[in-house]
């Protein structure tokens, strides 16, 4: 039973949900129906707390003048921690007033002592711009004379400082900014190496604000940790010790992430006091149209249908698409449906990176004013850009992580009144797993954000930068490894020097080391893409690792919808020469990867795996360690747009790429392989299918992107295998970055969960013999991939209830 409707908008929302079939509450989850789950998140009333006594009176007045009479409990809590000098991380939903949690203590410090300074870090320049407007408005309120006795308040300077800041403005900003809004990249290459010019900031740095903390995971997070190590060294040099205030979307380990990034103890504020209206969350799975191939109806078409139901009823909504292309397609669809007269104000807008700032501001304002009724966006609007609160959030495709899904869902929802979030799953394995296992999303804790700041590649680069900034004293530490041993190796290269054991290490090279380090990748080595269609110009770049697979000769390279074909790859010169082309296909590379174990950190050794073990005792052998990965692109396929047909292929002869990294691997014991009643080829297909599914699930559990991890199978020399000499098969899931980025140890820890979830993904899939949603398309992995992979998992894990039936069906087919 739904509560009585309270307003017209609520009524419209109910009607739309009813039409979609998502209004029925207390229904069980139904993985096989188009609506797989409906959840109602009850309304929450606000919990208020008074302003902390310690807060400066002028600040309280300014806040009241701006309509803030009371604080929400989480704001009061966070502010109290900050005022007491405790590092604090706040996790609260979208639109719960988190900015006040850090702006209040910062402004308080400046009002008390005008020499105080604060540094704000945002993951993108756009976010800094957005926050600047809010901060400046606040500063103006403080500076404006308040009626009567008192004169004008103090002037507080807030400025952004990033790559877009004009050179001639930089000196002024260094001198006048109380609040510097920047990003980690700028701090790394523009501020820290020039710290003497910023002496005033570093001497008086009271607070460092890290917004959108959850964005700093993987490589970017590992770099940021090192940037913060450098920042704290510089602060020590100038005698300051700033307090870190962080805000994060919901992730499993906000405190751990904050503590790892800053290497400081943190207070966690995770109970929001902000009110929230009732919200419905609906999972939609487009119906299957071809059972054999497991093909579902287009999720974009389904998203369009869902969005239309809300738009028809004049509800304001945001639609999230997974790519720029999908954004443009959906925008076109919805415009066709709802924009009647040309020339009338545009009610449907697209929004993505690549639009000019002015246009973006206009769309954001249109959303706040209600003139824009629907916006179709990439993840560009996922982070905290202010667009007001909307009625509905429709996600076309699973955003990839639980955290991002909640962020996007949070874009809909007012403080009172009803809202809805609808997730429309695509046929990608991750989407299918989530939409068919709603409790995984609703009940499990969200992902853990992982970083590995002591990855040697990253660490060494930052030690160079740190030495450039300040000499290393003999007793100084930097990270987990022995910094002096590392500096010793750098001194062999002539980069640093110390006169003796008691002397500091100094930078003894002409270069500016920060220029050679990009925070968004591990190695600065990359390929540039040169367009030769008309005059020669550089149109893009690709990191070294993915260069051969995306820029091989005849590859199709896509920039903003324009297609280019690679004519020549200059591997040693790191250049790909491309020319515009008009074609209806794209290419995917076929690569061959071989992983060799170098060092075992934990688990069964390779020798041990071949020893006879008691049957049915945990046969799934898990390991993790250091590996050597050799990969080579050997060919490519041409795939037709829209239909995804394979329309041709070619062979390639490219140099090998090698790297040392860390890997998790699962060993399928020979006795398991021996028990499979299938031919050798089919057994191999089963392993390939298992690996395909394993990767998808690993990606899900690790909160990482598809290219962050790689997969490789080592099946020994099965060709010569006679009965009784079957070798163990190993499936490696390796960190796709030199030196590893910290995924293998957590995967090792989640081994059981990983295998169980993989089995569930494959077993629950409705396709007959394999599809892109489980073990890969049947044409790629062979007709028995699905059944064999399930058999392998069952043998390793022992039978699970509800699984056997499907396996039996599979065997019947065999």
């Amino acid at each position: 039973m739904l509560p009585a409707t309270t307003s017209r908008a609520d009524g419209a929302l109910d009607a739309a949900l009813e039409r979609l079939g998502g209004r029925e509450l207390d229904r069980p989850d139904t993985p096989d129906l188009p609506i797989t789950a409906v959840r109602r998140l009850p309304a929450v009333t606000a919990r208020f707390a008074p302003f902390p006594d310690a807060l400066d009176e002028r600040l309280k007045q300014a806040l009241r003048a701006r309509g803030v009479a009371d604080l929400y409990t989480h704001q009061a809590q966070a502010i109290e921690h900050a005022l007491a000098g405790r590092h604090t991380v706040v996790i609260t939903p979208t639109a719960s007033g988190k900015t006040l949690c850090y702006n209040a203590p910062v402004l308080d410090a400046i009002l008390r002592d005008s020499s105080s300074r604060a540094l704000y870090l945002f993951p993108t320049k756009a976010l800094a711009q957005d926050q600047l407007a809010e901060l400046q408005a606040m500063c103006e309120t403080i500076a404006s004379p308040r009626g009567g006795s008192e004169g004008p308040g103090p002037e507080i300077g807030a400025f952004t400082y990033d790559g877009d800041t004009p050179q001639d403005a930089r000196r002024t900003i260094r001198a006048r900014a109380h609040l510097v809004l920047s990003n980690p990249d700028m701090v790394h290459s523009g501020i820290l190496p020039h710290h003497p010019r910023w002496a005033k900031l570093f001497e008086n740095l009271r607070y460092v604000i890290i917004d959108e903390l959850h964005a700093y995971r993987g490589v970017f997070g590992s770099h940021l940790c090192n940037v913060l190590r450098r920042l704290r060294r510089v602060c020590r040099h100038y005698g300051s010790n700033p307090v870190f205030l962080c805000s994060s979307a919901t992730i499993a380990n906000p405190r751990e992430l904050a503590e790892r990034l800053t290497e400081q103890p943190f207070e966690l504020v995770d109970r929001s006091g902000a009110p929230r209206g009732e919200k419905f969350f609906v999972f939609v799975n487009p119906p299957v149209v071809n059972h054999q191939l497991g093909i579902r109806r287009s999720y974009l078409g389904e998203a369009r249908r869902v969005a239309s139901e809300f738009l028809k009823r004049n509800l304001q909504l945001i639609v999230f698409a997974q790519s720029r292309l999908a954004t443009e397609i959906l925008t076109t669809y919805l415009k066709d449906d709802f924009e009647a007269t040309p020339g009338a104000p545009e009610r449907i807008r697209g929004y993505r990176g690549g639009y000019l700032p002015l246009r973006r501001r206009e769309i954001e304002k249109g959303l706040r004013d209600g003139l824009v009724r629907a916006v179709v966006s990439t993840n560009a609007l996922e982070l905290g850009i202010d667009i007001g609160a909307l009625d509905v959030s429709v996600m076309a495709g699973y955003p990839g992580t639980i955290a991002a899904t909640w962020q996007r869902a949070g874009r809909a929802g007012r403080r009172s009144g009803r809202s809805a979030a609808v997730l429309v799953a695509s046929s990608a394995p991750l989407d299918q797993f989530v939409v068919r296992n709603p409790s995984y999303f609703f009940d499990a804790s969200p992902e853990r954000a992982l970083i590995d700041p002591d990855n040697l590649h990253i660490l060494v680069d930052h030690i160079k930068c740190a030495t450039f900034e300040l000499p290393f004293t003999p007793d100084e530490q930097f990270g987990r490894h022995d910094v002096h041993e590392i500096l010793g190796v750098l001194s062999e290269q002539g980069l640093v020097h110390r006169a003796d054991e008691q002397a500091p290490w100094t930078w003894t090279n002409e270069s500016y080391p920060a220029d050679a380090v990009s925070l968004r990748s591990i190695s600065s080595d990359n390929f540039v893409v040169v367009d030769t269609t008309r005059e020669t110009r550089v149109i893009g770049e690709t990191d070294f690792t993915s260069g051969p697979s995306t820029l091989h000769p005849k590859a199709i390279y896509i920039v903003e919808g324009t297609l280019y074909q690679v004519e020549r790859l200059d591997f040693d010169g790191r250049k790909a020469y491309v020319r515009e082309i008009d074609c209806d296909y794209y290419t995917t590379a076929i690569s061959y990867t071989k992983v060799t174990e170098i060092d075992l950190f934990a688990g069964s050794s390779s020798a041990g795996a071949e020893l006879a073990r008691p049957p049915l005792a945990s046969k799934a052998l898990r390991s993790h360690g250091e590996v050597h990965v050799v990969s080579r692109v050997v060919g490519f396929k041409k795939i037709k747009f829209y239909t995804n047909e394979n329309v041709g292929s070619g062979d390639l002869d490219l140099p090998e790429q090698q790297m040392h990294t860390t890997s998790y691997w699962v060993t399928v014991p020979p006795e398991v392989m021996a028990q499979l009643p299938f031919a050798a080829d089919d057994r191999r297909d089963g392993v390939v299918g298992l690996a395909f599914a394993l990767k998808q699930v690993a990606q899900l559990l690790l909160m990482c992107d598809a290219h962050d991890i790689g997969i490789s199978i080592d099946s020994g020399d099965q060709e010569i295998a006679a009965p009784g000499t079957i070798k163990p098969v190993k499936i490696f899931v390796y960190d796709n970055y030199p030196g590893g980025i910290g995924f293998s140890a957590p995967l090792y820890g989640m081994h059981d969960e990983l295998l169980a979830a993989t089995r569930k993904l494959i077993a629950d899939c409705q396709c007959e013999n394999g599809c892109p949603g489980c073990v890969g398309p049947v044409g790629d992995t062979g007709p028995f991939a699905k059944v064999v992979s399930l058999r392998i998992l069952n043998l390793m894990l022992g039978p699970a209830e509800g699984i056997q039936a499907i396996v039996d069906t599979g065997e019947a087919a065999f």
């Binding site: 190496p193 020039h194 710290h195 003497p196 010019r197 002496a199 100038y238 040697l456 590649h457 060494v460 160079k464 030495t467 450039f468 900034e469 300040l470 000499p471 490894h481 022995d482 041993e485 590392i486 010793g488 190796v489 750098l490 001194s491 062999e492 290269q493 002539g494 980069l495 020097h497 006169a499 003796d500 002397a503 500091p504 100094t506 930078w507 003894t508 090279n509 002409e510 270069s511 500016y512 080391p513 220029d515 050679a516 190695s523 600065s524 080595d525 060092d599 040392h660 030199p738 030196g739």
Partner: protein, 445 residues
């Protein structure tokens, strides 16, 4: 299983090594470097210097009688003494009084930032007897930098003005960064600063692409582009160096000393720095002499033009016009022939005349520019626009004004100019119509 050090070696020797010039450095010395450079009397002997308050100082004196290029050091001193009062001409009119301190740094790199050090701070001045004294502060180890900067600050405190070559863009900001690094007060910010590079470039820069420039092409101090101190030393001062170290090798040579403790290779750098200081002093004296003597002292049209510019930017329009006129007279090309120098001089003279309200003179210049064969379009636009204004407002010849405005439109695409010209034509048309109407009214009356 590899050790940490081995793994790091694998990483740092990866295909993208740091930008360094291994071919120019000798192989790195064995790590057994001397414990403390201070303990080595070798340093004193090798560089002929001494320790003063924790800072290694090398002091030198070039006697007045010794020659530097065409002149004796004493002559330079005397000339500088006579003309010092004009130094303000080179600082856009800001006061700059003697005693002058000539300043030149040798640094560990060009990129700036906290990791770039001034390992040698060279100071120079003329003594009462006409000899040139240099005092060079050498950083032998990082821990002594603070002491060095304190000594340098004391040196600066005694000066009336700083004189440098490109120091406003390079040496001063770099030193300021070092002072800020150590939380010391940067006294240089309050001192008048004469940067000789900019006037020198006007007077003597070799046109790009000339053989002379290729001969001296230097990757070091690209900012001076074709007008390096060494080029000017040869061409203007007339001095020759032998055994000098090219600027771009200096950081590597210094690092070699830091690692090996062997100071001998630094000798060349110290000598290089001393010569730079003396040449800087000679150039300053030459510049001030030119500005004092005025157009009569110039060697060619180019110097006259530069002189005009120096006067103009110091606000001396009267003298500037004289210099520009001299520049035009000294141009070897006949009137009407294409000559970039003549174009520049005429144009600057036109603006200087307008500032002095000598409108007819300005118009003369613009007319001459328009007569020139191959006059660049932007000059043509400026000239026709100026003549349109002149004819509309001063000569009140609306027909001629309109003709010039139409020519502005023809002189190529430039939106801002185009809009202004169209606006002017529209106004002139209105005025012309009105004038016609009133004429016909008079006629009817």
């Amino acid at each position: 299983m590899s050790t940490l050090a081995d793994r790091i070696r694998g990483i740092v020797k990866s295909p993208a090594p740091c930008a360094s010039l291994p071919s120019l450095c000798d192989p790195p010395a064995p790590p057994a470097s001397p414990a403390d450079a201070r303990a080595l009397p070798v340093l004193e002997r090798a560089l002929d210097g001494e320790w003063r308050d924790g800072c290694f100082v090398v002091e030198h004196r070039r006697p007045a009688a010794s020659r530097h290029g065409k002149e004796a050091v004493g002559q330079v001193a005397a000339r500088l003494d006579q003309t010092a009062a004009d130094a303000a001409l080179l600082t856009h009119g800001k006061p700059a009084q003697p005693p002058f301190l000539f300043l030149d740094l040798e640094t560990t790199g060009l990129s700036g930032g906290a990791g770039t050090l001034a390992f040698l701070v060279g100071c120079g001045w003329f003594d009462g007897d006409g000899s040139f004294v240099t005092r060079q502060f050498l950083l032998t180890r990082f821990q002594d930098e603070r002491a060095l900067l304190e000594r340098v600050a004391a040196e600066l405190a005694a000066a009336g003005a700083l004189v440098s070559f490109n120091g406003k863009s390079f040496d001063a900001p770099l030193l300021e960064t070092r002072f800020l690094f150590h939380r010391l007060d940067w006294i240089g910010g309050r001192l008048p600063h004469v940067d000789v590079l900019h006037p020198a470039r006007r007077f003597w820069k070799t046109p790009a692409g000339s053989p002379e420039e290729h001969a001296v092409a230097q990757p070091f101090r690209a900012a001076s582009g074709g007008c390096s101190l060494q080029t000017l030393e040869r061409q203007i001062v007339g001095a020759r160096r032998s055994g000098d170290i090219p600027g771009f090798q200096i950081p590597a040579r210094y690092f070699q000393f830091v690692r090996s403790g062997d100071a001998a290779p630094l000798r060349t750098i110290l000598e290089h720095n001393r010569l730079d200081l003396l040449t800087l002093a000679a150039l300053t004296a030459r510049l001030l002499h030119l500005t004092r003597t005025g157009p009569d002292g110039v060697r060619d049209a180019r110097e006259a033009l530069a002189l005009g510019h120096v006067y103009a930017s110091a606000g001396l329009d009267d003298r500037a016009r004289g210099a520009y006129r001299r520049a035009i007279d000294r141009c070897r090309s006949p009137r009407g022939a294409y000559d970039l120098l003549r174009i520049d001089a005429l144009r600057r003279l036109a603006y200087a005349c307008r500032r002095g309200r000598l409108f007819a003179d300005a118009a003369e210049c613009w007319l001459e520019l328009l007569e020139m064969r191959g006059c660049p379009p932007f000059i043509e636009r400026e000239a026709t626009a100026a003549l349109a204004i002149h004819n509309e407002h001063r000569r009140r010849d609306l027909g001629a004004a309109k003709e010039y405005a139409l020519r502005t439109l023809e002189a190529g695409e430039a939106p801002a100019w185009k809009a202004a010209a169209q606006h002017r034509i529209a106004r002139l048309n209105r005025k012309l119509t009105r004038a016609q109407e009133s004429r016909s009214l008079q006629f009817e009356a």
